[in-house]
């Protein structure tokens, strides 16, 4: 990261903290959604962008996390415990889902995870004794943490933002640890990684489990944020959207999920003038981008910066 890059990150952080003071409640809701989706997308970026394991199951993990919190908090379980439980449960399920990844790759893995997402959806819809089926669960309370009541939109936004900050720092740290390097090695050349003595088996499972637990954390915030969850919110569509976010932002780029989620949340609002057509525009934009710059928006920005720099150097060399 260059100094310029850090400056941009600091500016973005200041903007994220200041934003709710200038926004109406709906605006605060939107940026809270952005925070929650960013957390889920960071998890997917870890699995897909860094470890190279395509997953269409992230939406299902958001669902598992959301239902965990929505079911536990009415029983009197403190929010923090339910939050941790959501992450742990998703970690465990993600670990198990990682086993197919040991046997199959690429498109086969996409189909296995796709099947998993649909199975989770069916369970959430059909097991009414547990999940209340299509009627969903309403009124998951926003927590009081150590005397801080997060019932208001702005307070809850700051809770989400705090969680995002903690998880980003943890992910940043992990990616710079030997684990993170091992994940990249898995993506770049699994056979070479294996012959260098990396336990690729364990790291593949790890990549899945950690990515999934971030999905669970996102879900744990989603339930108290919207206060109404139902199976349809966590169907295949969400997994596709999260995948598109990671790709649009820039897969394998640490800040990709932040940008991708921002675009996915704001674009529908900006394109409101096009009425129902915004999804058409969005889908077309993704296709165009994949054709010209599969590295995503941030990849495009990096390319632009490189060009500018080379341009200025050349310009500087001439006189």
């Amino acid at each position: 990261m260059t100094r310029f890059g850090w400056l941009l990150v600091a500016l973005a952080a200041v903007a994220a903290v200041a934003a709710p003071f200038f926004l109406k409640p709906f605006g605060i809701f939107l940026i809270s959604t952005w925070v929650v989706q960013t957390i889920a997308a960071i998890g997917l970026n870890l699995t897909l962008g860094y470890a190279g394991q395509i997953s269409l199951a992230q939406g299902a993990f958001v669902g598992i996390g959301a239902y965990t919190v929505a079911l536990l908090t009415p029983l009197g379980v403190p929010f923090l415990v339910a939050f941790a439980a959501a992450g742990l449960l998703c970690f465990a399920v993600g670990w198990v889902l990682g086993y197919p990844a040991l046997r199959v790759q690429h498109h086969y893995l996409a189909f296995v995870t796709l099947a998993f997402t649909t199975l989770v959806f069916l369970v959430l819809r059909n097991e009414e004794w547990l999940t209340n089926g299509i009627y969903g669960i309403t009124g998951t309370p926003r927590p009081n943490l150590f005397g801080w009541k997060t019932g208001g939109a702005r307070d809850f936004y700051f809770l989400c933002l705090g969680v995002l900050a903690l998880l980003s720092v943890a992910t940043w740290w992990m990616l710079r640890s030997p684990w993170g390097r091992a994940f990249v090695a898995l993506r770049e050349n699994p056979i070479r990684a294996l012959s260098l003595g990396l336990d690729t088996r364990r790291y593949t499972l790890m990549a899945f489990a950690i990515g999934s637990s971030l999905g669970g954390f996102a879900g744990a915030l989603y339930a108290p944020l919207v206060q109404f969850i139902e199976p349809n919110s966590f169907s295949l569509g969400l997994s596709f959207n999260l995948l598109l976010m990671v790709i649009v932002g820039g897969s394998g780029n640490f800040f990709g999920p932040f940008v991708g989620a921002l675009i996915a949340v704001l674009l529908p609002e900006w394109l409101r003038i096009t009425q129902g057509y915004y999804l058409i525009v969005y889908a077309a934009a993704v296709m165009v981008m994949m054709a010209f710059c599969p590295a995503g928006v941030l990849g495009l920005a990096e390319r632009a910066v490189l060009l500018l720099r080379r341009g200025s150097k050349v310009a500087g060399a001439i006189p």
Partner: protein, 291 residues
């Protein structure tokens, strides 16, 4: 027993349609490494072409031909030229993402440009119930089955008994060697895209009278096609046919005898088991991987 026969016939009819979709899917994969996540939407769309042509005053048979022609143009040629060709150099994954976006694009386009309501679609033959022993079988199921079988037989003849078909197979198995032997590989790849467009258009015309023409039809159909292709074997045309038939029959039988709520779950569980135990599919060959 009577209801079993009914379920079996309607299962075979659905399965035959799944088989058509799955065959197109595997053909694209074999010749151009395209995993078409929009395949379900490809089946949803031609029905709307047909309906639009009928709204413009064309009789059903002509509208059907117009639907197939538009399908060849848009889902065959344009899909290959605009989406697949520019993406191939990046490898499999970006193309997967692009076809996911395409499926969203087609679905929303059908919804916004035609209608979000399910549209009735004319059947091939008038619905008459035929009594076989004590089972009741509808002429619609039989007509679907007949058309699907004719299509599959014609496809097999094309692939195995004509020069073009054998060249297409050679391209699918080993493009480099095929090129050395003088097969016009590029044209063969284009032919598979056209073939896929014809197959999805036929499937669309067969399935729409049953499910009605609706913009969300593609979701279930696409997944059914993937599952059929994988169960049977991703790299075998006859595998895809077998997978489609198995899937259609199991789907109908499980809904009746096991649980209608979990109707959608059984194919997924079979999919996971097949992938874990026999990833090459029931009839597939193991693909050699280069390091």
């Amino acid at each position: 027993m009577a209801s079993f026969i009914q379920l079996l016939v309607s299962g075979l009819a659905t399965g035959a349609i799944y088989a058509l979709i799955a065959v197109g899917f595997t053909l694209l994969w074999q010749t151009s490494q395209t995993i078409n996540f929009a395949q379900g939407e490809f089946v949803m769309l031609p029905a709307f072409f047909v309906l639009a042509a009928m709204n413009a005053g064309a009789p059903f048979w002509m509208a059907g031909l117009i639907g197939i022609a538009l399908s060849i143009l848009i889902l065959g040629i344009l899909f290959k030229v605009i989406i697949v060709d520019p993406m191939l150099k990046y490898g499999v994954l970006p193309l997967v993402i692009s076809t996911i976006a395409l499926s969203l694009f087609l679905k929303e386009s059908a919804k916004d440009l035609y209608s979000s309501q399910a549209q009735p679609f004319p059947a091939l033959v008038p619905a008459v119930d035929i009594h076989v022993f004590d089972a009741v079988v509808s002429t619609q199921s039989l007509a679907v089955l007949a058309v699907a079988i004719v299509t599959v037989v014609a496809l097999n003849l094309l692939l195995n008994s004509t020069r073009v078909g054998r060249q297409m197979q050679a391209t699918a198995q080993n493009p480099t060697l095929a090129r050395i032997l003088g097969v016009p590989v590029k044209r063969m790849v284009l032919y598979t895209f056209l073939l896929n467009a014809v197959l999805v258009a036929i499937a669309s015309i067969l399935i729409s009278p049953i499910y009605l023409a609706k913009f969300t039809n593609g979701e279930t159909l696409g997944i059914a096609a993937f599952i059929a292709a994988i169960i049977g074997g991703f790299n075998q045309v006859r595998g895809a046919i077998l997978g489609g038939v198995i899937l259609g029959v199991l789907d109908n039988l499980s809904a009746a005898y096991i649980s209608s709520q979990y109707r959608g779950a059984l194919p997924l569980i079979i999919l996971i088991i097949v992938i874990l135990l026999r990833p090459q599919g029931l009839l597939g060959r193991v693909e050699e991987r280069s390091v």
